[in-house]
Symmetry: C2
Subunit: 417 residues, 2 copies
Amino acid sequence: MDFPFSRIAGGVGAARGFLTSAVSCGIKDPASDRLDLALIHSDRPCSSAGTFTTNRVKAAPVRVSQAHLRKGDLRAIIANSGNANACTGVQGIGDANAMCDAVAKPLGLRRSEIGVCSTGVIGLPMPMVRLLPHTPELLAGLGPDQGAEVAKAIITSDTHPKEIAIAFDLGGHTVRIGGCVKGAGMISPSMATMLCFITTDANLPSEALRKTVLECVEDSFNRITIDGDMSTNDTVLVLANGASGMPAIRRHGPRCKQFRAAIHWVMLELAKAVVRDGERVTKFVTVNVSGARTYLDAKKVAEAVCKSALVKASWNGGDPNWGRIIHAVGYSRARIREELVDIHIGGKAACLGGLQAATPMAELRDIVAEREFTIGINLNQGSADYTMYTSDLSPEYIDFNRSEYAYWKQARKDGLV
Amino acid sequence: MDFPFSRIAGGVGAARGFLTSAVSCGIKDPASDRLDLALIHSDRPCSSAGTFTTNRVKAAPVRVSQAHLRKGDLRAIIANSGNANACTGVQGIGDANAMCDAVAKPLGLRRSEIGVCSTGVIGLPMPMVRLLPHTPELLAGLGPDQGAEVAKAIITSDTHPKEIAIAFDLGGHTVRIGGCVKGAGMISPSMATMLCFITTDANLPSEALRKTVLECVEDSFNRITIDGDMSTNDTVLVLANGASGMPAIRRHGPRCKQFRAAIHWVMLELAKAVVRDGERVTKFVTVNVSGARTYLDAKKVAEAVCKSALVKASWNGGDPNWGRIIHAVGYSRARIREELVDIHIGGKAACLGGLQAATPMAELRDIVAEREFTIGINLNQGSADYTMYTSDLSPEYIDFNRSEYAYWKQARKDGLV
């Protein structure tokens, strides 16, 4: 950030003119009152933009939201957790449409002005019979200062809700950006398994917002990985309603640059929060690749290292194992020369020119024992670089993901399968 | 196999004219007498062929063996376990050469007639001071019927040695093929982390052997994955000495086809044995992709499914989670259409046309509870197929791979770092 801003409370409800609400429908857990259905609504027309999973298997709400987003005029978002509405065919599309319809008319909007998102188990029909009776309560609950409820309602295996909001001056007007995110499992570049909603009272035309969001997602959410899996439901939606009263931001003006820096900062903070709260994660690792011949080479190296089960297992064990890092560098398919590769752990040389450096192992071990550290990989072949954010891989992660069978049993009880 | 053969004893020492030996040097564990240095020697000139890791970071013995193999006239192989001699620079090359020299002159061979292989920890210099004093004992021990010792000497984290040998009739002559393999961790296509030695008394010119070996490795070892990591040391070496007395096999004759079928069967059995003995593996899973538009599409789908941490975790938990399988199919970058994808588990439909099939979940669960099962994925878009062999991913795998720090401490005690 090269211009001042301040963190404020309110998360996705912090920007002016946005109302939010969340209720419990028992989708996530019929036996508890955990929030699992959320609504975000702008009291005036919006510009909107978004990015979606590149998985060829796309959940119904992704397909519906992609279609609705085409005009860039979304004004509300309805989202549930507990069921992904993925691999649910024609019925899934109908259910996603029904979710939109349940709030569109009461809000005085067209169906195509609603974004819809779901996250949870794949392959089971949406329990609409649980969801629909709660939409009147959801609508009635709309109000300001409730962003935190939305952050709570969208989480699944996350250990805590994740939200952020900032305010800053843009050409004499105070502008707010707020957002929340859920992540935890199935996290990988090209859209982590993740829902992220961002609202702002800045005034941007749709096209300027769309380009800004695409660029900023590429440099934030697409740079994180936890387990290398990519979800069917990943969605980032951004609504800008201009309620700050500022004049419209022009695409190539200086205020667009300032706005871009602010929203990128918000996205990067949320993306990092997803990694830090990854399933059974104990380490937050920044992998910084430099000296590559091309951007793509740098990216390939970063991805190979960040996705290697053996590298991640060694971090979990607090082992400064540069041998496993360089072996991942080697199979990344990037153009590298072993005898030029330097690897630094927490700024200290672990490997220089492909060989063990002089730094005492105990010093490196102390760094990897920390909860957060940086791995620097210099290929010494060019000037391109790429940074990714990742985690360790723990025995507890595997254990946690051994079975979703309980969901099927519940679905059977509900008569859905 | 469309022609008869019989399994025989003797492993890599079963073919006529091959002598083997193995000793303990204390590289794997200074405190025990576990075998960790092996020698294979043909009493007459050989044709030879091999394939090596495609990792750009290559261990010194890989570089040396690649150079030696160029003429296709290797007659002996020396191999150690406990240290990979990888990322060891010029000194590593010198050490690999010294390993060759230690046996070349006593055997009356040139250095370039020796293949050299190492497996174990990366980044530490070879403890030559432990290894070299034992080479006279290694040479003195050469004899027939000792193939099992070689299989023992090359294993690292494997739970048991893996070997096989067969005899069959080829144009009126009895021909033998024997081999051994080590694997366990860092196993991925394009050469698993793995050493495999195969000997045969068939009579093949180098060029015919080379092409046969390349094709057969592609359809065996390159079709397995355990953890998706690719080693710096992977090597398959095949020696053929003609000691069966048969006339030379012509590249395009029917006997070459028969020989190819036999050596492919040997390689596939050894490759499957590597998966079955993968680190902390509890399941052996055959993933059979069919109906793809191209071979490459089928391969991409198989690899994505076989490498997904979430899919593998669900197998570990005995969960017939087809949702995770189809999500991996979706991000494989193959051309797939969700609504055409069928997934069968153990022959029973789990997903038809991208939707949950009618098979009761309990039936699918019983199949995934078995130690071995098959996943069939039909993309219904073409006629190309691809089969891979893989394992589950267990919490114990991660736990097992958390730290190799003990190796560093030992290396320090040895004055190597």
